[in-house]
Assembly symmetry: C2
Homo-oligomer: 305 residues x 2
């Protein structure tokens, strides 16, 4: 069973009240109603030494920054405003105060930069062998428009991404810039139909939008904004399609709204049209030679092989 | 440096806006303001295999239940109403679908019992060796009265606990009943000045109330409600004072309010007066022989020795 199948299974186990839980399992964040018609959104991400970072080479400040940035990217993925975070850590034995403070420095650097204060946490230690685990849970609130979900893509929509894709493992995954303010600016200008952040690879994450929206997609290989790091790899297109941890935004919107967004966009972060939402019910990609082939989700699988 | 010193250091690194973050680092939950004068509270707890449970003997359903119950106990500790939880897991390699579903069964059993839906999560796996880590983050909302904090104890207050103490490691730590409804009933009847849940042992947790409130305490050893499991141990009083994971509530209130609470209390969960808040600035305990001695925090220390 793959991660997405398990997520679907979890979602099916309990029906959540749409009044109390407007957005439940399966999106970038869940939305919970609070008093007086207001709501908050919540996301949680666990980062593990050896899986999401290498404690020995990354430096603990980078680890702290990345842990926060991954959750900030989830806030961006729904175009919501981060309001606070808690961090729980499972520390290796004899981790020590100095290293804990390094980790903390990275956490508060991200908190300061994105105006999302660290409000609490939990510190615990492995007994015996055990590697560093960092779990960030973050709250956000809706901006002026409702949160943008994964399930709203419509046939004919333009598919776009922010920034560039691929090669994140070389450098970017430790110091990427979550697209929080870009997302808020995008929804200020235009109406987006679907959005998520690319954490497991474009092909895998686009498949999530397609599946949840009940649509297909046709990507243009020549349109992919391939990062300079990915261009140095053996297969840059495959890196852009399948590598995880880009932490860019993947979104769809009508051609009219795309015209509007493109026309008014003044941020240095580029927005690129990479394809269209189709009624084929499956993902396809057109290569440089003009041939259209099926595209399988080939990105990172959290449950292993 | 001990856990409480580190927590204090973290709290001092950033001043949090009392408007946006009415309750920050150092209480059972943090409180974050949302739109329209409403607020939510958040807590996070990471439970580790070999530290908080033994995966091989506990059974994964119990592990899932305990993970949720620990956070529910934090909601109880502030007399707030749980509204939703997210769970992040770091899985050992080849954990498999069946075991994940067992863990999930325990999580939703607690979610159902305490009306706190599982709304999202994150699944990831260790590459290479790595043991199970489960991190629950839970949201609650204030009831009719403001959240009860740790820092409100006043000289002359009666110190009370729910249930019985000690010996939790034998059985109770895997299937305790978080005192969510008892806490809400207590604040309905009376005004509490300070409260927290006993997770690291009475002596350590009372010390937190005393430190944060700037007061001392005098406990009566003969008044401690020692659990039947602790009574079988070599030193039952020490077990009641210093063992962790009781997950009972420790609270203080004026003698008048205590009279009111005791008079109207009809729950099967007992409330017991165990001492008084004093102006000595330190914790003391009166033994069965009438002698008063200093009481040091002797409970569980998460940062190890």
């Amino acid at each position: 069973m793959r991660e997405d199948d398990i997520t679907t299974w979890f979602r099916q186990q309990r029906e959540l009240s749409p009044v109390q839980i407007p957005i439940g399992i399966g999106d970038d964040m869940a939305q919970i109603a609070v008093a007086h018609g207001s709501s908050v959104l919540i996301t949680t991400d666990m980062l593990l030494d050896g899986t999401h970072f290498d404690m020995a080479t990354a430096g603990l400040e980078r680890v702290g920054y990345k842990s926060m940035a991954a959750s900030l990217s989830d806030c961006a993925a729904m175009a919501t405003i981060p309001i606070g975070a808690v961090v729980a850590v499972g520390l290796p034995a004899r981790f020590g105060e100095l290293r804990l403070k390094e980790l903390h420095a990275g956490i508060v650097a991200a908190a300061d930069k994105y105006d999302c204060p660290l409000v609490g946490g939990d510190i615990t230690s492995w007994q015996g062998a055990g590697r560093l685990a960092v779990c960030v849970s973050m709250l956000s609130k809706p901006g002026e428009k409702p949160p943008v979900r994964r399930n709203g893509a419509r046939v004919g929509d333009v598919i776009c991404v922010t920034g560039s894709l691929g090669g994140s493992g070389l450098r970017k995954h430790l110091n990427f810039e979550p697209r929080v303010k870009e997302a808020l600016e995008m929804v200020r200008i235009a109406d987006l139909n679907a959005m998520m952040d690319i954490s497991d690879g474009l092909s895998t994450d686009l498949n999530r939008i397609c599946t949840q929206s009940g649509v297909g997609a046709l990507l243009e290989a020549t349109a992919l904004p391939i990062s300079t790091d990915a261009q140095r790899l053996a297969d840059p297109v495959a890196a852009a399609l399948n590598e995880g941890e880009d932490f860019e935004l993947l979104f769809t919107l009508s051609p009219e709204q795309w015209g509007r967004l493109r026309g008014q966009w003044s941020s240095p972060v580029p927005l690129t049209e990479i394809g269209r939402i189709t009624d084929t019910g499956r993902m396809q990609i057109r290569g440089a030679d003009g041939r259209v082939v099926d595209l399988e989700p080939g990105g990172y699988e959290h449950l292993g092989s």
